[in-house]
């Protein structure tokens, strides 16, 4: 158990180090000078030089890498070149949108997918199963941004129940904030729910064919109770893996949905920062996302241990 955790932890740290080097070098070689971008076409060379000095773009590559990594370890992500505010504050602001959105969408995904998968597996080969499999087929095929636009068309433009986009912030109350996230969360969740439903269904079908399930029925459990007591727990391992991947995707990959709904989230921040060559923001956000993905995987590894006693004993 302890050995298992140590191994995971070491690989986590190594991944973070490699990621930081890769991110920094990629951003270094991207063409485009942030100072020239900010000052535009009429700027004079001396003005650009003055701004470069002000932004601290003069040092050597190694110096700047060390300053960046060292800063991050102290929680200091530096100052954004374009916005001139601390990157940590900007990221925190955006996380207040992206994190609730990802959690909201993930909750919807799980709430839809687990019962739907259970239902389909238990009705395997019957009408209920076919209609759910058909629905997931559509859910996977339809791109989420298109789905988002349809939602806007119906619920914002026609019915006017929701705003077409934007985020008022949490200061006007929890419901106001949550309301602004409903359409984006639904748009993000449905394709993910379709994927997760299929994983849940096939994983459960596989488990249902196992000997211990037959034994459970033989000792007198009803089919529902057998699934509940013995089937579900065994079917959950692959489902957990997918949920972990989905959370990372929802946090980092919401960019298109953020764009369609004009939400000030992390994805849009990094997109904007790339086009403005706000390199320090790009580096920090990407690093943070890498950290989030690696941590999620680490937590999923821990969750395996929780649902699978064999891992506890073996390790």
């Amino acid at each position: 158990m302890l050995g298992y955790l140590t191994k995971r932890l070491v690989s986590l740290l190594a991944s973070l180090f490699v990621a930081s080097v890769v991110i920094f070098s990629v951003v270094e070689v991207v063409p485009g000078d942030p100072a020239a971008f900010m000052l535009g076409m009429n700027a004079r060379p001396d003005t650009i030089a003055a701004l470069r000095a002000e932004l601290g773009l003069d040092g050597s590559v190694v110096e700047r890498y060390l300053a960046w990594v060292g800063g991050m370890m102290r929680g200091d992500f530096g100052i954004s070149y374009t916005y001139r505010t601390p990157v940590a504050d900007m990221i925190a602001d955006r996380l207040w949108v992206s994190l609730p959105l990802a959690l909201f969408a993930l909750t919807l995904t799980v709430v839809i997918a687990i019962p739907a998968g259970l239902f389909a597996a238990s009705r395997r080969g019957r009408a209920g199963d076919y209609s759910i499999v058909g629905a997931t087929q559509i859910g996977i095929a339809v791109p989420n941004f298109w789905f988002a636009m349809i939602l806007i068309l119906i619920f914002a433009i026609q019915l006017r129940w929701f705003s077409a986009g934007g985020f008022p912030g949490w200061q006007d109350g929890f419901w106001t904030g949550l309301k602004a996230l409903v359409l984006p969360a639904v748009a993000l969740a449905l394709p993910q729910a379709a994927i997760l439903t299929r994983v849940m269904r096939s994983s459960l079908i596989e488990v249902l064919g196992e000997d211990f399930m037959r034994t459970a029925r033989a000792k007198g459990l009803s089919s529902g109770a057998a699934i509940w007591r013995h089937g579900l727990r065994n079917a959950l391992i692959p489902v957990l893996t997918i949920i972990g991947l989905q959370f990372a995707f929802l946090l980092a990959g919401g960019i298109i949905i953020e764009q369609v709904f004009a939400l000030p989230g992390l994805g849009r921040l990094v997109f904007q920062a790339i086009s403005q060559r706000d390199l320090i923001v790009v580096e920090s956000v990407v690093m943070l996302l890498v950290f989030a993905v690696i941590m999620t995987n680490f937590l999923v590894d821990l969750a395996y241990v929780a649902v699978d006693p064999r891992l506890r004993r073996r390790a």
Binding site: M38, T47, V97, A164, D172, K179, Q276
Partner: protein
Amino acid sequence: MKRFLLAASVAAFAISGPVWAADHLTIGIQLEPPHLDPTGAAAGAIDDVTYGNIFEGLTRFTEDGSIVPSLAESWQISNDGLTYTFKLRDGVQFHDGTDMNAEDVKFSLDRARGDDSTNAQKGLFAGIADVVVVDPLTVEVRLSETDGNFLFNMAWGDAAIVAPESIGTIKTNPIGTGAFKFSNWVQGDRVELVRNDAYWGQAAALESATFKFISDPIAAFSAMMAGDLDAFSQFPAPENLVQFEADDRYKVLIGSTEGETILSTNNKAAPFDNVNVRKALALAINRQEIIDGAQFGYGTPIGTHFAPHHPAFVELTGNSPHDPDAARALLAEAGLADGVTVSLKLPPPSYARRGGEIIAAQLRAVGINTEISNLEWAQWLEEVFRNKDYNLTIVAHTEPMDIGIYANPDYYFQYDNAVFQALMGELRRTTDEEIRSQLLQQAQRIISEDYVNGFLFQLPRLTVAKREVEGLWANAPTQAVDLTGVRWAK
């Protein structure tokens, strides 16, 4: 009970949300300003939010492009044209309650032209030799040579008068003298302004205003249609304007801008170092087709680098009518009968990306093949603008009255004409409006007849607003979304 709770919370969802009084306006713009200091970056979005609303200069632009007094009530120009004595308005206060006086003017101008200045238009201040405070309400600006553009230059957002006390935090908490005060900025989403009740001039009709940043054209359309926004300045989806025009809840304002959209040409690189090849290029272009295809019909054809709404404008599209046969003949004469391949590098705006494909087809018809590459702005600035590594590119030059860029041989088109340069020198030294106008017309003719660039069209200013919103600027004489005169029709 559970079902009831669910229904109730859905209902609460549908009803809640900010309800604004009739004296509030929410206006969309496409890009978010990086910060709110108009004197410290080129981003047009800074001026959209701050120009005339938060910050003011000695002079200012009005909607028709004329220059009127702003913080300077009046001025006198010495006989040699070298000294401008500005009489400042009495009783003007910054939003933090401090007085605006001659010291602030001196501070602002000296800061903009100083050695460590990061003013994106530092050239505007290059002619200033000295700024002298005569008394708290009088300031004298001495120039090193006469400059007929000086009062015009002082109207730019980059020449805003700022206070030394608030300069440290100007980027996130701008303190100006305008009719609106900065109130709040939710980064990535919106900037909020409130009325300045201590304003020296006509108070704004709106009590508060919100600038909302929506970069995606479809999201902008949805937000207007859903009623989230009261107006959208520089609406990014011209293809959807017809829908707003047909809907009587909305109106569409079509105005002009200072943006000359041109097929910029590298005058030093073969084959366009030859004036006849450049002429062939100009004759190969069908402007109307580009305006219809890339701009959905919105845009005014231009035959030179000058805004058509300006009094000194000369109509010169006749120099380059669409004539593919003549273009082919010119190319054959230049030894390019077998065709030639050139690069066409396109920045992100849709006029460039969409227009680029149409131009590529038009050029192919006369035997000029283009290799199109799409660049981001930062890449474009480095590759095309700084390193001049290109044959053709498409870009709108949005600075007002910028024909002077053709006098700079190091500018990215690399046009080097001593006659034109002398003419611009003369223009700078001339203050008489009549003569200036003649010089400007001469300048327009020279670059048109030299076919320096492919002159395409003047970028329109497209604003969508709810029908009851009055007083929005239709034109954009400078980058600005001036809300001081905006009101709701009763």
